[in-house]
């Protein structure tokens, strides 16, 4: 297919090209703003993020390409029941409240850079720190791989394969690793600000086009009720139980993402963090509701899509819409760029966290134990390139699929939550108890997921493993206190 035959036309590709160049310029400007070669300056932007940049980087990092592309597909398949994802995303902000105030103060007092720094400070147990960091690395490496694959799919999908999947992966990944290694978190947060704004404009644009007024919503509800009534029905007991369990699972795993923890550390002040979290609590409403409605509009416009075909609903709607008028074409291009921005803004933050953990918590405690900070920072940049190269190779290698492991992300991540959240708020928690809980929780969650067991005793496998983890962490801490 020639570029002139690309569904959204060469104009869309040119706009995305311009956007990518702008991201590289931002990376260069962030490098100019760099104060020194310390880990705190590179990985936490010198702890200087004000409330607006912090809000936009939290937003752009938490909402990925899956929000713009995957969620409408899920709404297409499940119907109105996917409105449950509003409470999933909201639960993450609520989960910060018990521990973020204390963690932010501790991070400033003790100059934490990674989640592992808190664990070292709190528990002084190398075994616990190594295991927790290993769980974090495995979880977020899988997540990063998923973002790289999404980049290839979105570029190939929107260009009608005029730009092949592998080119999409390589070009976008290269842009990310260049601006990230140039300016660290400063570059990531500044690009996230632009990307978060694009994402927001994109989803509001989707709503504006898909179903802008209550009369459109009523007409849509009536059409779905008449033609596919299961998709407007009140969810049954199984679905509502799963909904409540997933709120807990997403809350405590989402809150301990290393990139989320590092944004708590990077806040300029408690006031900046407070303000950004206040606004973050409303973002699920203005982001998820539009994408769910878009999926439902797609159900009426293109009914009959089966399984994963429904994940193409946004590209199909945008192609349809772009043909209507010049303003609608421009809006479609903005939404498309918003989708690319959403994936990139999540990937850059995850990549930065991954390199910080590998450089500081693994190499910095072994091979480079006595190295100066500047050397660790340079090593972290090299690790970013190495990790990017490896994961990009996995993403473009058609014979290797790790999607099964990606599913493990939340189940594994949540096993670290007791060490971090309880560790912050409960002085009695002991290192031996939390280590025992983490070992058992991780082994049980991993084994159940890899053997295809989704639930135990009627509850989700990840939560069951978390339950065992908590019983051991709390029970053994009490027992130690009594002896």
């Amino acid at each position: 297919m020639k570029v002139s035959e690309v569904p959204l036309g060469p104009g869309a590709l040119a706009f995305i090209g311009l956007y990518l160049v702008a991201m590289l310029v931002v990376g260069y400007l962030a490098k100019r703003a760099q104060r020194d070669e310390s880990l705190g300056d590179f990985y936490l932007a010198g702890r200087s993020l004000g409330s607006v940049v912090l809000l936009l980087t939290l937003y752009a990092t938490q909402y990925s390409g899956n929000t713009v592309l995957g969620y409408p597909g899920e709404a297409y398949r499940l119907g109105f029941a996917w409105i449950m994802s509003v409470s999933f995303m909201m639960s993450i902000v609520v989960a910060y409240l018990p521990f973020a105030p204390r963690l932010q103060r501790l991070a400033r007092q003790h100059h934490f850079v990674t989640p592992g720094d808190f664990l070292d400070y709190r528990f002084r147990s190398p075994a616990l720190s190594y295991l927790a960091n290993a769980v974090l690395v495995v979880s977020i490496a899988n997540y990063l791989l998923a973002q790289f694959m999404a980049m290839g799919h979105v570029v190939a999908g929107f260009s009608g394969n005029a730009v092949p999947y592998w080119v999409g992966v390589v070009v976008l990944v290269l842009v990310i690793v260049i601006y990230e290694t140039l300016g660290g978190l400063r570059a990531v947060a500044w690009t996230d600000s632009a990307q978060g704004a694009l994402l927001f404009v994109g989803v509001v644009g989707l709503l504006f086009w898909a179903a802008p007024t209550p009369s459109h919503w009523r007409s849509l509800t009536e059409w779905i009720g008449a033609n596919d009534p299961a998709k407007t029905a009140v969810p049954d007991a199984d679905v509502t139980q799963r909904w409540l369990e997933t709120v807990v699972l997403v809350a405590f795993s989402g809150a301990v993402y290393p990139q989320a923890i590092q944004r708590i550390y990077a806040a300029k002040s408690a006031r900046s963090l407070k303000r950004s979290l206040q606004y973050m609590s409303f973002m699920p409403l203005v982001t998820i509701v539009p994408v769910v409605l878009t999926g439902l509009v797609g159900l009426r416009r293109f009914s009959g899509l089966e399984g994963v075909e429904a994940d193409q609903i946004v590209p199909m709607l945008l192609r349809d819409y772009a043909l209507q008028s010049l303003p609608s074409y421009l809006l479609a291009v903005l939404v498309l760029t918003g989708a690319v921005a959403a994936i990139m803004s999540t990937a850059d933050s995850v990549l930065l966290s991954l390199s910080s953990i590998l450089a500081k918590d693994f190499l910095g405690k072994t091979l480079l134990r006595s190295a100066p900070e500047a050397r660790l920072t340079r090593t972290g940049k090299l690790l970013s390139w190495a990790v990017t190269g490896l994961l990009a190779w996995l993403a473009i290698s058609p014979r290797i699929t790790l999607w099964g492991l990606i599913e493990l992300k939340f189940e594994l991540l949540i096993q670290v939550a007791p060490a971090i959240i309880l560790g912050v708020i409960w002085p009695r928690l002991t290192s031996q108890a939390v280590l025992a809980g983490l070992v058992v929780g991780t082994v049980v969650a991993g084994s159940l997921a890899l053997s295809g067991v989704n639930g135990v005793a009627g509850i989700q496998a990840g939560l069951f493993a978390l339950g065992l983890n908590l019983v051991l962490s709390i029970g053994l801490s009490y027992r130690k206190g009594e002896t």
Binding site: I83, V86, V94, L97, W217, S269, L285
Partner: protein, 90 residues
Amino acid sequence: MRDEPLRHGWIWLTYVFLFNAAVPWYLPASAARPVWPGFPLWVTVSLAATVAIALFTAFVIRRYWDEDEESSTRAQRERSESRGGGAPRH
């Protein structure tokens, strides 16, 4: 001592109530009829509960999360007032 959300048990009970209200396990099958603003009744109820969660969260953060800066500013003001200085007036 700094105030923070963790110190108030009623905040967490309120969250348990609101998140449960957002999940329509307590509504009958007839709650699928369209109501204002155009969604099935159970969706409107669920969204209303999530709006309440967002508003409540913003309130809790504002009211029950003490800032270092605020504490130090308040302490400075109290010291200044105890010396009879008070805030400068223009």
